[in-house]
Structure formats: C-alpha cells, structure tokens
Amino acid sequence: MQSRKHLVLALSIGLCACAPVQPWERGNLAKPQMALDPHPLQSSLRGHNYGSREATAGGNAAQGGGCGCY
C-alpha cells in the first residue's frame, strides 16, 4: 500500500511538472518502437504461458486461455 502512495505522488508530479507536450511534438512517441506493446501478438502468447505457469493471472481472467490444466 505504501508503494501505491508513492505511485500517486509520482504521477501528480508527472502531471504537473512537465510542460504540456503538443500534438505535433509526439512524433517520437508515435514510432512503432514506442508502442505501449510493440509486439502484441507475441506478448499475448507469452502472457498465456506465464498465466498457465504462475499463480498471478489477475487482470487477464476474461481473455480466455482455457484451463491450462497441465
């Protein structure tokens, strides 16, 4: 819980302290290597492997994925 407070703090600093980035300044962020998930096909595959091998499955419960009963 302590860490979450720090996150909120960091976020508020992030929101206020930076000069607003104008739409025409976002060329770098629009590059393919800056996609939040640069390899979505692969990451869903790996996520499925992790989900069926680790106890942490939260957040992906409704993406299907089957039993993984092996």
Partner: protein, 936 residues
C-alpha cells in the same frame, strides 16, 4: 483496449522510410477530429498469422529402489531414475483479422488453437515413501516403466516427529528361526520427488471478437469469446471505455470482464485406486468408488465434492469387460466464475516519455481447483506413551487437491516507456505487483529494448523476472498425526494431533518460487505492407530465485523455451493487383483464377516478376457412418474376424475429422516462374466404438483421457513448389507445378493407454494409427499439370496431380502414393459472385511397411505385438487407400472495390459419389475447402 489508440498511431508509422513530416502527420492523428484521413481507417485493416512452439525441459525423477534382481529390498537406495517421458510440448496456431467497418466502427476477430501433450507432475512426496510407482522390468534393475505414477503408500517408510524421513530396511526371513523378521527404519533421506503422468495429445480452440466505436476523444468496445477443450469450456465477455483528456496527453481506460467456465474432467483410471481413497477429513468424498466397483454399479454416486467447494464430483463405474479391458470413469465437474475490473491511465510525460498506470481487481468463485492435481497425506499413529524419538511407520494416500472456492486478487502495474533519441530506440520498463487472499504476493519486472536497425529491420531483446510467495494451503505433501488409546484403539485428543488443513494443494504453481526469462525478437517490415516476426524465449523456474529466499526445493525446478513466428499483412498498405490497371491479359487471368474451385491448387502462376500473393487455405474432411468393405457396408462380425488380419478387431472408428490450416505464400521470381511456400497445420480427432465380444456399450469419448477418443495436432508437412507457365494465350493457359513436401509433420504421435489392465499393469504409450499422424514422414513429390481457359463469364479447366513418396519414413512405413484428376467449370453470376462445379477422381494406394513392433522403454528390446488394445481396422496397412469419385460444388466471392478490392474468398464442398476402399474403412461424409487470398 488501452493500446488501441497507440496501435492505430503506430500502424500509421509502420512503414519504412518515414520522414519527419510523416511523423508529424501521424502525431497529429492523435487528434482525429483535427485531421482525419481516410487512410486512418484503412491502416487498421490487418490480417495476422502466428505459430509458436513451447517445449518444456525434462523433469528430474527420483525413486526408492524397491527390490533388486535377487528380490532383496535394500535400504538407502534412493536413486535418480531415467525419465523416458516426453515433457510437455505445446503447438499454437493463431490467426486474427482486424477490419474497419466504417471510419469509426472497428471489428477484430482472433482464432487460437493449441495442441499439447506430454508428461506433467500430478503430485509430490518424499522419495522414500515410494509414492513414485517404479517398475522392475524383466529382472533388470531399470526402475521405470512407461509412465511412473503415484500410488497409495503404506508401510514403505518412516518419519520422526521432526519431519525427517527414512526408508525401510526389510527384516527378511530368518532361516534358523523360520520366521519373518520385523522391518526397521533404514537410511534418512528427505529428498522430495514429483510424480508424473503423461497425457495423450489434446486440443484447445478459442475464438474471440472485439467490436469498437471511436469518438474523437473517447472509445467504447465490447468483446467476447469462447475457449473449448474436451475437459474445460470457458465463455467470456468484456466491456471497455477509453476517455482522452488534455489533447490526448492523458487517457483513462476502464474495463469490466466476466468469465464463466465449466470443468468436466475425466480422471485418470490409473489414479482411481489412490486419488479417490481420501480425503480422510471429508468422509463424504471417499471410498465410494471402490464401493461401487464392488457392487458393480454403473453409476456409483453423485454427491457434493465437499461442502467447501461448489464443485460436484461424479463417479461412474461400469462393470468390467472381459479380458484386458476395464472401463472405469470418474468425472469431476465444476463451474467457476470470474469477474474482473481494471482501471488504467496513460500519460504523455515529455515528447520522449510516456507513463502507464493500472489497477485491477478479480473476484473468482466456484471450482477453482485443478482436477488433475493430487496431494499426498501421510499418516502416523501414536499411542500416548510411545517413544517419539524413534522414527514411526508411515502410511498414506493421495487425494484430489482442494482449493478454496473463492479468490480475490488485486494487481497494480506501472509502465514507463522512454524514447532513446541517440539510438532511435524504444525502452519499455514495467512492474506489476499482485496480491490475493490465498496468501500469494508476486512481483513482476520486465523490460524490452526495441532497436530499429534500418531497412525495416528491428531487434528487441527482453528480460523478465517474476517472484511469488506460496499460497497458505500449499505444501509439497501433508502429514497427519493421530493419537489413539492402545487399549481401546480409539482416537483420543492430544496436542500431538495433526489433521489435514481445510484446503490443500501441491500444485507447484502455488509454491514459492522465482522465474527468470529472456528472449529476443526480430522484425522485418517489407515495403508492401508485409511484416515478418520471429522470437525465442527461455524461461527458468527455480525455488531459489524467489525474492527473500524460502522458495520450494529443487525438485520443482524446471525450464522451458518457446519459439514463435508471425506474418502480418497490412491490407491498407498492400498494393492490390485489382487496383492497378495492368491491361486485359492480366485481367483475364485473374478472372480465370477467380472462377477456379477452392479445392484446386497449383493452377495459378503470378503475372509479373516481383508479384506476391498471400493466401490462407482451410480444409476439413469428415468420415462417419458405416464401415465399408470395398464399396458396401460390412457387418460387425465380418469386421471383427477379417478386418484386422490375423487378429480379432476390438474397435472400429466411429468418426474421424481432419482440419488443415495452410498458408499459401507465392512470389514471382521471373515472369514465367512463381515460387510457392506452403506451411501447414493439421489437427485430427477420432472416436471409436467397441465391437465383438468386448462391446459393453458406448461410453462417450469426451474425457480427456478417454480411450474412445483421440486427438492430435500440430505442424504438418511443408510444401515447396515451383510453378511454370508452359503456355499462355488470352483464353487458355497451361501451368506445370513441380515440387513436394518436406517431412516437417510428426509421425511419432502416441496415445497413452488408459485401461487399467495391460502388460504387468504398466501404462504404456502406443503409436496413434497412421492417419492420425501429422505428416507422411517422407519427402513427397507432388507434380501437377493444369489447363484452364476462360471466355467472358465462363471458365473451365482440368488438372492432374500426383503424390509419390520417396522411400519409407523413420517409422518404417510410407503412406500410399496418390493420383487425382479434376475437371471443372465456373460461371460468373455478378461482378462479385461466381459458382463452380467440379468432378474429381482419386486413387490412393495402401500403406507400404508398418510401424515397428514396440520396444519396451527399458532398452532390453523386449518386443510386443503392436497396439493390441486399440486394435482396429486402421491398424492394418492394407486397410488404407482406395478409389473415389467426388462432386465439388463451390461459391466464390471477390471484392470488386474498396479497401478489400482483390480479396477473394472461396468455398467448395466435396460430396462423395462413389467410394471403393481397400479393405475395411470408415465411410466418407465429405470435405469442405475454404480459401482466402490476396494478390499484390
């Protein structure tokens, strides 16, 4: 959902040779209200294919040698056993399409198919308890049969109250006194081992969709899907909302999801006599199966699995058939529901940095256990005045695990995405914390570095670290202490008394461990909107890697690697043939191709050097109904006595379906030569009926371990062809195709025997029949010659193709050679719709050679007749091939204009008209072919 905005933007930029101006435009598209381009919609249109392979490492198995050649039971003989069981392997195939229905409405569809098989742990126990069932074969000291299994254990080991374990020192027979001497504790060994069970191949299929609507600064989406396995079915739906603020510097995502899943698991018959012996603390869940077996009832009992869970354990037991086959069935059925919600935020921090935050909550109820996992409970009984300093004799049994029927999980995640200007690279760092009310806390760290290399190439190394604490109710095994009154024999209350907890699991996924993985991904973007991607990853799970230590012992460590390859087509960026005015000649050939039935391949060579074509081809064939001998139905007696050669047939196939997914990749290297590559994936399912003296009724083959149903699937043989235009005329053309297939499909697919009685009670694996193997195993030549013609709205053609197997395969057989001749006509009804009709004659030879006689895993070359238990007409190589006549009826659709101009979708149904089989085979129902293709 939260990535949609970014994906759209990035797909805009997903082309090589981008200029600063383009970047600027793309950035401006973040505000579609300000600058909305028609290309924006088109760029969403993408078709993806992905294949991946998952391969686990072999697990270490230890056993306590029970007896040696002389029948003497030695103490202190805990040894590492050779593990002949293939570890888990998974083959996955994924296809997806995303299309813009309008500028604002988008639709995405995914299809995923996994096939898995191999050996997996079901429980763990101290080695000295001999919970690991070891086999002594043929007087050798090899300790393992085909499948080491857990077993009920009593009087095989000792434990002291400090938790130390000792094996047994057998007293033996005293020839002087003429009496058996008492056993005593042997050597201390606390080593734990897994017990493994191998599983026959199984298939999972999943389809899901997402429909979204975009406003200028908001979006909603709704999605849903279905995942189906023999023993598990899951239905899910989700809703999402995205809101953009501050000129899209800030986006908030809200998601809600619901999943409803049913377990319908058939338990391993080998496990019955121990996994159902308990649990002791839940008397309503024990003993009923054995009781039912004694009574010979067909359905033993239906009752609540336990008051603690909502699952119901249903046990069916049928009377034994005579001879080798006994069909017992225990089914665990249960339902679970998962509600999930998440809140996400993305924030543009600077022109080079973006922050991502998320919170998630998932509430799960119902049957949350894994029906195939067992837990060992070991018992010690003591009297109040007993000397507790000496090791005590242990008994014990395994039982099905019991997890709580409720779970609440929260996650928090943080991502930082940073553009490294000096290297033009993207750095992505993510952290996720997870906690649930089962006592598990986990931390995940991962980082990607996406490095563009120029010319459309990029390389992405990534690393991930994961650590979790154990669930409160996890232990590798459990011990119980009962204190009893030595005079009355009754249990008495005592501080020493130790019972089984309410919930218990030995699933290593709930243990404390850490995992480290790393990999690399290579991407190549081609000019025409085609992208290729390949990645590998290595993953190691170790108790010692847990943060803060205290993870599970080394017995549970394992590793795996994965490899994946993907092909992505951006339909908006492809230069379609249809869109280029290339003259009438090409147009004619395209028309002739459009009027060809879906089932015809190798008829179409591309027009110009540099042209490409990508297609997808699906074929499904079905067999069901009666067993034919030649052309006429055979009766059961004839099949039983003559269908299997020298032996009596025990089974006949009841149904067989085969699905093939193929990618069709064509490239014109010169105007007259087109090269073609055809990777393919195959899956098959078969059900069988018993015949003859063993027919005790059909039990339905739905169970994952059922003897009546088999499944296989995976990568098939890969085709390589060269197409030559021999003759070209405005109305006629002749194409010669030379090439064949490489034996990339597996021919060692096996089924695990599951009846209780087989050789020496040893569970074994036997090869699946020839037509359930994924490939031919041989290099096959497949020449074909095609003539096609067209005048205005009418087209016609004829084709001859052959298959010649070169040599025999590694399993000592070769599938039959083939010849097929087709004649067809096609008629264009409208500018987008046409129909086809085709007549097909096929001849296929019987199989040459046969599977070698089976060899025991102990390497002593003791051989046995092949596939005795599953013996059916399909076991005999002369019951393959025949002569067939089919009628094909087809519909072809070509998109005349718009984003999808040039896309062709074709369907063809093959209706059997005449079947003349070699020997005894299952009648044919027909076959469907569906293709999609686009030329550019």
């Amino acid at each position: 959902m939260k990535d949609n905005k970014h994906n759209n933007i990035h797909q805009q930029k997903n082309k090589p040779g981008k200029s600063a101006l383009e970047s600027l435009n793309a950035a401006a598209l973040i505000l579609p209200g300000l600058l909305h381009s028609p290309a924006h919609a088109a760029d969403y249109d993408e078709v993806d294919f992905q294949y991946s392979h998952y391969q686990e490492g072999r697990r270490e198995i230890w056993v306590d040698q029970m007896f040696n050649l002389d029948g003497i039971y030695p103490a202190g003989s805990v040894v590492k056993a050779p593990n002949p069981l293939n570890p888990i392997e998974v083959e996955s195939l994924h296809g997806s399409a995303r299309v813009s229905l309008t500028d604002r409405v988008k639709f995405g569809f995914n299809y995923t198919q996994d096939t898995w098989g191999g050996a997996t742990p079901i429980a763990s126990a101290p080695v000295v308890t001999s919970a690991m069932h070891a086999f002594n074969l043929r007087g050798t000291d090899v300790l393992i049969g085909a499948s080491p299994l857990a077993q009920a254990v009593s009087g095989k080991s000792y434990m002291d109250l400090n938790g130390n374990w000792y094996d047994i020192k057998y007293g033996g027979f005293d020839p002087i006194q003429g009496v058996e001497l008492p056993n005593t504790p042997g050597v201390l060994s606390n080593r734990i081992t897994h017990t493994l069970v191998s599983a026959s191949p199984e298939i999972r299929q999943q389809g899901d969709f997402k429909l979204s609507y975009d406003w200028d600064e908001a979006a909603v989406n709704v999605g849903g899907g279905l995942s189906v396995e023999n023993d598990y079915e899951s239905r899910f739906g989700n809703l999402g909302l995205r809101l953009d603020f501050n000129q899209k510097r800030t986006s908030v995502n809200l998601g809600l999801s619901y999943t409803n899943s049913d377990t319908h698991a058939t338990l391993d018959p080998y496990s019955f006599n121990f996994t159902l012996a308990g649990p002791y603390e839940a008397p309503d869940a024990q003993g009923n199966l054995l009781y039912a077996q004694q009574l010979g009832e067909s359905i033993a009992h239906v009752y609540s699995y336990s008051p603690r869970t909502e699952g119901t354990l249903m046990i069916e037991s049928t009377p034994s058939g005579s001879g080798r086959m006994i069909f017992d069935k225990a089914t665990v059925t249960g339902n679970r529901q998962d509600w999930g919600t998440d809140l996400g935020l993305t924030q543009v921090l600077t022109k080079n940095a973006e922050l991502e935050l998320g919170l998630g909550y998932t509430h799960s109820t119902g049957y949350l256990s894994n029906p195939y996992k067992a837990v060992y409970g070991f018992d010690i009984s003591v009297a109040p005045d007993q000397d507790l300093n000496v090791p005590l004799l242990v008994s014990g049994a395994a039982q099905i695990e019991a997890r709580p029927n409720e779970r609440n999980q929260i996650t928090g995640n943080l991502g930082l995405h940073y553009y490294v200007e000096a290297l033009d690279a993207g750095l992505h760092g993510r952290y996720k914390v997870f906690h649930d009310d089962w006592g598990i806390t986990s931390h995940t760290f991962d980082a990607d570095w996406v490095q563009p290399l120029g010319a459309g190439w990029s390389l992405t190394p990534n690393v991930r670290y994961y650590s979790q604490s154990a669930a409160d109710f996890y232990a590798p095994f459990f011990t119980r202490v009962t204190v009893f009154d030595p005079n009355t024999g009754e249990e008495i209350a005592s501080p020493l008394t130790k019972k089984m907890p309410d919930y218990y699991s030995s699933d290593q996924r709930l243990s404390g461990f850490g995992a480290l993985s790393g990999g690399v991904t290579l991407n190549k973007q081609f000019a025409k909107g085609v992208q290729l991607q390949a990645g590998v990853e290595y993953y190691t799970h170790q108790g010692d890697l847990k943060i803060g230590g205290g993870g599970e012992q080394g017995f549970a460590d394992y590793d795996y690697w994965t490899a994946n390859a993907a092909l992505k087509l951006n339909l908006g960026a492809l230069r379609f043939k249809a869109g280029s005015a290339d003259g009438s000649n090409i147009h004619h050939h395209a028309a002739s191709h459009v009027l060809t039935p879906a089932g015809i391949m190798f008829n179409h060579a591309l027009s110009h050097a540099g042209d490409m074509m990508v297609g997808y081809r699906y074929q499904r064939s079905e067999q069901a109904g009666e067993i034919l001998h030649g052309s006429s139905p055979a009766n059961a007696d004839a099949i039983a006595t003559q269908g299997c050669g020298q032996s009596e047939c025990f089974m006949v196939p009841a149904s067989m379906t085969m699905n093939m997914h193929m990618l069709d990749l064509m490239y014109a290297s010169t105007d007259w030569l087109t090269l073609m590559l055809m990777p393919q994936w195959t899956d098959m399912a078969m059900t069988m009926d018993l015949i003859g003296s063993l027919n005790v009724g059909h039990h339905g083959g739905g169970g994952s371990q059922g003897i009546h149903a088999h499944q296989t699937g995976g990568i098939g043989d890969t085709g390589f062809y060269a197409l030559f235009k021999l003759f070209e005329h405005p109305h006629h053309q002749v194409v010669l195709s030379l090439g064949g297939t490489a034996p990339t499909g597996a021919i060692d697919m096996k089924v695990r025997r599951n009846s209780r009685e087989s050789y020496g009670n040893t569970p074994e694996e036997t090869p699946l029949q020839y037509d359930m193997q994924l490939g031919s195993g041989t290099w096959d030549l497949k020449p074909s010659l095609t003539y096609s013609g067209a005048i205005s709205d009418v087209a016609w053609g004829a084709q001859a193709t052959g298959t010649k197997r070169l040599d025999r395969n590694s399993q000592h057989y070769a599938l039959g050679d083939m010849f097929q001749g087709s004649v067809w006509g096609g008629y264009q009804l409208t500018n987008w719709l046409s129909t086809t009709v085709r007549g097909i004659y096929t001849w296929q030879d019987q199989i040459r050679g046969e599977f070698p006689a089976r060899v025991y895993f102990d390497g002593t070359s003791t051989t046995y007749p092949e596939t005795v238990e599953h013996l059916g007409p399909y076991s005999l190589t002369s019951n393959y091939g025949g002569r067939f006549v089919d009628l094909g009826l087809g519909v072809n659709v070509t998109v005349p204009s718009g984003t999808f101009a040039g896309n062709t979708i074709k369907f063809e149904w093959l209706q059997p008209l005449h079947t003349d089989y070699n020997g005894y085979q299952l009648d044919r129902d027909g076959a469907l072919t569906a293709t999609w293709g686009v030329e550019f």
